[in-house]
């Protein structure tokens, strides 16, 4: 097995928080290996520890048991090889949208910075809002700006915590396409947390299903379809209902009857 740069290995990872002086087990014995350039979707009910898992990979949560390794090295803190789109957009309110996108760009000339910012604002469809302040954006626009900020840094591993959560259905599909395009182009690893099963299948090479209390990986499903994927194909639908089954929501789809 050839190991490229940016391989993420998580072995027997457990994490608990202290809540009201009692330990609360949030993640329990998580095992997953994500080769470079993979796209992994994570779905699971609210509070099952998805954000916590991403924060561990990011290096913001320490004090866990087990291993979280990148290229065989324990993650000890944040590094610019990993980028994140937080669940809350976290744009700094005192910087303009353009300055926010440039937030992680260090040691670049003014001109280079401008070019990168413009390019990424265009990518997420926010050209024209460069000098606006975050408070002047809608929730969805703020999320797109946060995506631009994360991408501008060209990380090897990009963590996305429900990045499309507050977008309308149309923009959402458009952004999914864009994410796929960026992923294919940049060849980076992306780990996407989402509550949208369709989104998870549409984008993921693998879909990780987590269940809660404590958070464990219940199942990992490989998605073998070629890209771009057809959301209405029979196979797509079948995988979708298989996943929904895991959540005991396995309503049979009318489409399946008609076959």
């Amino acid at each position: 097995m050839s190991i490229g740069k940016g391989i993420l290995e998580i072995k027997n990872l457990s994490k608990s928080f202290i809540v009201d002086n009692n330990p609360l087990q949030v993640l329990n014995d998580i095992n997953i290996t994500i080769p470079p350039g993979n796209f992994v979707s994570i779905i699971g009910s609210s509070g099952c520890g998805k954000t916590t898992l991403l924060r561990i990979v990011l290096g913001l949560e320490t004090n866990y048991e087990g291993d979280a390794l990148i290229d065989g090295e324990q993650i000890e803190g944040p590094g610019i090889n990993r980028g994140i789109v937080f669940q809350d957009h976290r744009l700094l309110p005192w910087l303009t949208v353009g300055e926010n996108v440039a937030f992680g760009l260090d040691g670049k000339s003014r001109k280079e910075t401008e070019v990168i910012v413009d390019e990424h604002l265009k990518l997420v469809g926010l050209n024209g809002f460069k000098s606006a302040y975050p408070c002047q954006l809608s929730g969805g626009m703020a999320q797109r700006a946060a995506i631009a900020r994360a991408l501008a840094n060209k990380p090897e591993i990009l963590l996305l915590d429900e990045p499309l959560g507050s977008l309308d259905a149309m923009t959402r599909m458009h952004m999914q396409k864009e994410l796929e395009r960026i992923w294919l182009f940049e060849k980076i690893t992306m780990i996407l947390v989402t509550h949208d099963v369709e989104e998870a299948i549409y984008l993921g090479d693998k879909v990780v299903i987590m269940s809660s209390r404590p958070g464990v990986i219940k199942k990992i499903i490989d998605i073998p379809f070629t890209r771009p994927r057809d959301r209405s194909s029979y196979e797509f639908m079948q995988i979708k209902s298989e996943i929904l089954e895991e959540f005991h929501l396995g309503v049979e789809h009318p489409f399946i009857y008609s076959i």
Binding site: G59, L60, F86, R90, G104, C135, N153
Partner: protein, 264 residues
């Protein structure tokens, strides 16, 4: 059309603001005309105005204002800058916070006017003691507000800075200081306001120049018109300082002044 309507409303609002001052003036003038009080206690508004003009013409007023302003400025700059740096360091280092924080909090409990006699005993009755006294007034709001602003920058923004590998200087200028700015500005405002109050207090306490001195001196000679004129002057100066600060605040906090899209 709607714009002119709006303008008319604004105009009416402005007019409402004059009701109370007008009533006060009318009451004042009629109390004088009806001779409700002796002339030692109440003089007509116009007399106060005339006194003010006279004082300005002789140059007395200007000199007193200048010496008050000089004091307030030196005291404010000394106290506020010390407070700012200490507050910043305390906000950044929890060790330092635990080291000096409790002492500063305890010192804040001393009503600063109580220190005036002590300061006079230590520094004499001249300029130095006044500047020291004012700077003590300016110090406390600044140190606490800066500290609160710095330590109150939300964790989520600090995390963001860590994710993007921000080191000391950039971290300070891009994340910590802008985040703390609203609180720092509040500190500046309180600090300047207290400085202004303290200068008047110090001058009432004993001085040879300044607006406060002018008022004490007038009180001893039972010249109530000068006392009222002095009150008017310190009010106007305080008001002007506040306006200037508000303009600065609007400028630097542009990112906060916004339409609130969630009102509806």
């Amino acid at each position: 059309m709607s714009k002119s309507l709006l303008k008319r409303f604004e105009w009416k609002d402005k007019l409402l603001a004059f009701i109370v001052p007008l009533l006060v003036l009318v009451a004042w003038q009629s109390a004088v005309s009806l001779q409700l009080f002796s002339e030692m206690i109440l003089v007509p508004p116009l007399t106060v105005m005339n006194t003010l003009v006279d004082l300005a013409r002789t140059g007395d007023l200007t000199n007193n204002i200048i010496s008050s302003l000089k004091r307030v400025l030196s005291g404010f700059l000394l106290g506020a800058s010390t407070g700012f740096f200490l507050g910043l360091l305390m906000g950044l280092s929890s060790l330092l916070d635990r080291f000096v924080g409790p002492l500063i909090k305890a010192c804040k409990q001393v009503p600063q006017f109580a220190l005036m006699p002590l300061i006079i005993l230590w520094f004499g009755i001249d300029e130095v003691s006044k500047v020291v006294f004012i700077s003590i007034g300016a110090f406390f709001p600044m140190v606490f507000n800066t500290y609160q602003g710095v330590s109150g920058v939300p964790k989520k923004y600090r995390e963001l800075a860590r994710v993007f590998n921000y080191k000391s200087f950039r971290y300070l200028t891009k994340v910590i200081l802008p985040g703390a700015l609203p609180s720092i500005i509040t500190g500046v405002r309180h600090s300047l306001g207290l400085s202004w109050m303290f200068v008047v207090g110090a001058e009432l306490f004993g001085s040879e120049s300044g607006v406060g001195y002018m008022m004490v001196w007038a009180r001893q000679l039972f010249q109530i018109d000068i006392v009222m004129a002095g009150l008017f002057v310190i009010g106007i100066i305080g008001f002007t300082m506040n306006i200037i600060l508000q303009i600065i605040e609007k400028r630097v906090l542009r990112w906060r002044v916004s339409f609130d899209g969630r009102m509806a």
